[in-house]
């Protein structure tokens, strides 16, 4: 392992250098804009990965925390209530608010079995945007809140270029990765893994499952609170329709595609899906249109794609495209990972059936 460290550092440095010069090398603002948006979803995927990947709690209403983060920024940093809390402070405030809601949702529901918990989080995911929609006197209902404060750094406002947001999101992702990896290997991370494998056994080993699960909910929510602030500030608008069940499933698809529980896999999964959504499908539609198939608009069917990803991956490669290499090497961990175990199980049964 020691010999690989310099190589790894070199690779990381190279990657960082490339990422830092992208806005200078690529003057197409649309590309930088895409990367900044995709980055927000990387943050979301990293956060959901803590809940689903590390702790094994299926959260189907994760977009609700994204909504809470975005609306926090809209409420505390716009003309809506005349409050103008700076962007940088709001990153922390929104993380705290989202985490609080994570605990509020988690505290009464974490006793539930896995699939019940999933449905309750789904209900929560429906209630939150509906509430923002219905409280029209505070949130302008379906129109949402616009003209949010522009972030500024050293007195210089961000302006309308996507480049500053790109750097902010890049920085946040870097912090997010460090946080996620440290969490994964911390005492808490091992507790999550134990609970995921066998909650009863974990409790008997003295792990406080309730605290561990609540921490997962709170930390995962905090990520999406931060992502919400960055996303809202960049878009300059929040409205209830940005945070539906579709968004929760999109983020879940990113995890399933990349590999639940693996930080690198989750990032790759989210980038791939963002790319497909923003470039591949519109491009395919354009090609179809010029070829004469004017009625074909693939972007309308991207949810079909998420469906196919969820079903196909679960059946064929439940651990994702990039299951952690380390985990594969460590037989023990590989056997105890639920996704990999599922894979082994089906293979085992398949072998017996034959």
């Amino acid at each position: 392992m020691k010999g690989r460290k310099p190589v790894r550092a070199l690779r990381l440095g190279l990657l960082a250098a490339v990422l830092l010069v992208v806005p200078f090398a690529d003057h197409n603002n649309a590309h930088v804009d895409f990367l900044a948006n995709a980055g927000a979803f990387v943050l979301l995927a990293l956060g959901l990965n803590i809940v689903v990947g590390f702790a094994g709690l299926l959260d189907l209403g994760y977009a609700a925390f994204f909504a809470i983060g975005s609306y926090s920024y809209a409420i505390f940093a716009s003309q809506q209530f005349g409050l103008h809390v700076p962007f940088w402070i709001m990153l922390f405030v929104a993380a705290a608010i989202a985490a609080l809601f994570g605990i509020l949702l988690g505290a009464p529901t974490l006793r539930l079995r896995g699939d019940y918990l999933a449905i309750v989080t789904l209900g929560f995911g429906e209630i939150v945007p509906q509430t923002f929609l219905n409280l029209a006197q505070y949130t302008n209902g379906p129109n949402g809140i616009g003209s949010l404060d522009q972030p500024s750094l050293f007195g210089r406002p961000f302006g309308f270029s996507a480049t500053p947001y790109y750097y902010v999101v890049l920085g946040l992702i870097a912090l997010g990765i460090v946080a996620a990896r440290n969490l994964q290997h911390s005492r808490l991370g091992r507790a999550w893994m134990a609970i995921r494998e066998d909650e009863l056994a974990a409790r008997h080993m003295g792990i406080n499952a309730t605290t561990a699960k609540l921490s997962a909910f709170a930390l995962g929510a905090a990520f999406s609170g931060v992502a919400g602030v960055a996303y809202a500030a960049k878009l300059d608008l929040v409205s209830p329709d940005q945070f539906g069940f579709n968004v929760s499933v999109l983020i879940l698809s990113m995890l399933v595609l990349g590999g639940m529980g693996n930080v690198a896999g989750v990032i790759v999964g989210s980038l791939v899906l963002s790319f497909v959504n923003s470039f591949l499908l519109p491009q395919a539609s354009n090609i179809a249109h010029t070829a004469g198939f004017t009625y074909l608009d693939f972007t309308n069917y991207r949810f079909m794609l998420y469906g196919v990803i969820l079903v196909g991956m679960m059946l064929l490669r439940p651990a994702g495209l990039l299951p952690s290499a380390k985990r594969r090497a460590e037989l023990e961990a590989a056997l105890t990972d639920p996704a990999l175990a599922a894979h082994e199980q089906t293979e085992y049964e398949g072998a017996h059936a034959r």
Binding site: D115, Y116, L122, Q130, M304, G307, V311, T346
Partner: protein
């Protein structure tokens, strides 16, 4: 008081639809412990199948007497059959292979299936709501200020009839016995010579067929159908199944009618209630799961399915 009673009638007919869908959730959960997320979309598929069948029969307006009865019976049966087949196919293609996987794997697959079905329906009939022919004449029976329209009557009668039939089937038939045995202990059932695969497929067939019937009822009830209807209806029906005690047939009916009533009454009496009715229903779900996870009838009738 009349307003209240009228809302009770509305709630019961709405609840009949939820109850029919809830039966499918509860049966499948009882036997394979899976929240069949795609079930709500099978219900929507039922309304689209009904539309296609009505079109094939050349029906586009109101019918009366024997023609009405004949068309309703044929359409409902055909929609039930087609939905049943779809349900069996979904189980065969997706869920069966994941039967021994960790619980979250089939659930995630079911969510994916739901998205696929929704998009197939969107491809088939477009993204906008589709009008449903007003087959059933509007006037109904008025009893002391409360009107029960024919479609409301149909919804309630059909739901109750199918439930009684299902209850009898599960209590008395050999396949029903096999279902109960599989629900209690799949391995032991297998050892007793029960073909578990057939039994589970039959569960999906019956549950999906009931959703198909609900699809027809909702089509005539609302006069329109939409590829995305199944999402909310499915969630409410699932709430109904949990409220009644998941795995319990009578409970699913009770839960369905309760959710219908709660929704109708909340719409009437809470200010801006229509906007909040979803929030109310989901709050019911959360409260039931926290305070009485076994549901209303979960303990009184512990038999699964």
């Amino acid at each position: 008081m009349d307003v209240f009673l009228q809302q009770v009638v509305n709630g019961l007919s709405l609840g009949a639809i939820y109850a029919l869908i809830a039966l499918g959730y509860t049966m499948v959960y009882g036997v394979v412990e899976l929240i069949n997320f795609a079930h709500g979309d099978v219900y929507t598929l039922g309304s689209f199948f009904s539309l296609a069948i009505l079109a094939a029969l050349g029906v586009s307006g109101e019918l009366h007497g024997a023609a009405l009865l004949g068309v309703v019976v044929v359409t409902v049966l055909a929609a039930m059959l087609l939905c049943g087949i779809v349900g069996v196919l979904i189980e065969r293609l997706a869920y069966r292979r994941l039967r021994n996987a960790p619980r979250l794997a089939p659930l995630i697959t079911a969510i994916g299936m739901s998205f696929i079905l929704e998009n197939v329906m969107q491809l088939w009939r477009g993204p906008s709501p589709v009008p449903f022919p007003p087959v059933i004449p509007n006037p109904g029976v008025t009893l002391g200020g409360v009107t029960v329209t024919t479609k409301e009557g149909l919804a309630i009668v059909l739901a109750l009839g199918l439930m009684v039939a299902l209850q009898l089937f599960i209590a008395n038939s050999k396949l029903g016995k096999a279902m109960r045995a599989t629900a209690q202990d799949r391995e032991a059932a297998q050892l007793m010579g029960i073909n578990v695969n057939t039994t589970i497929a039959a569960t999906f067939l019956i549950g999906s067929a009931l959703a198909g019937a609900a699809g027809f009822v909702s089509g005539v009830y609302y006069g329109t159908t939409w590829f995305f209807n199944g999402f909310q209806a499915g969630l409410k029906a699932f709430t109904a199944a949990v409220l009644g005690g998941i795995g319990n047939i009578a409970g699913a009916m009770l839960g369905g009618f309760s959710i219908g009533l709660i929704e109708a009454i909340a719409t009437q009496y809470i200010p801006a209630g229509a906007q909040w009715s979803n929030v109310v229903v989901f709050s019911v779900l959360v409260l039931v799961l926290i305070f009485r996870p076994s549901g209303l009838l979960g303990e009184a009738l512990p038999d699964k399915v």
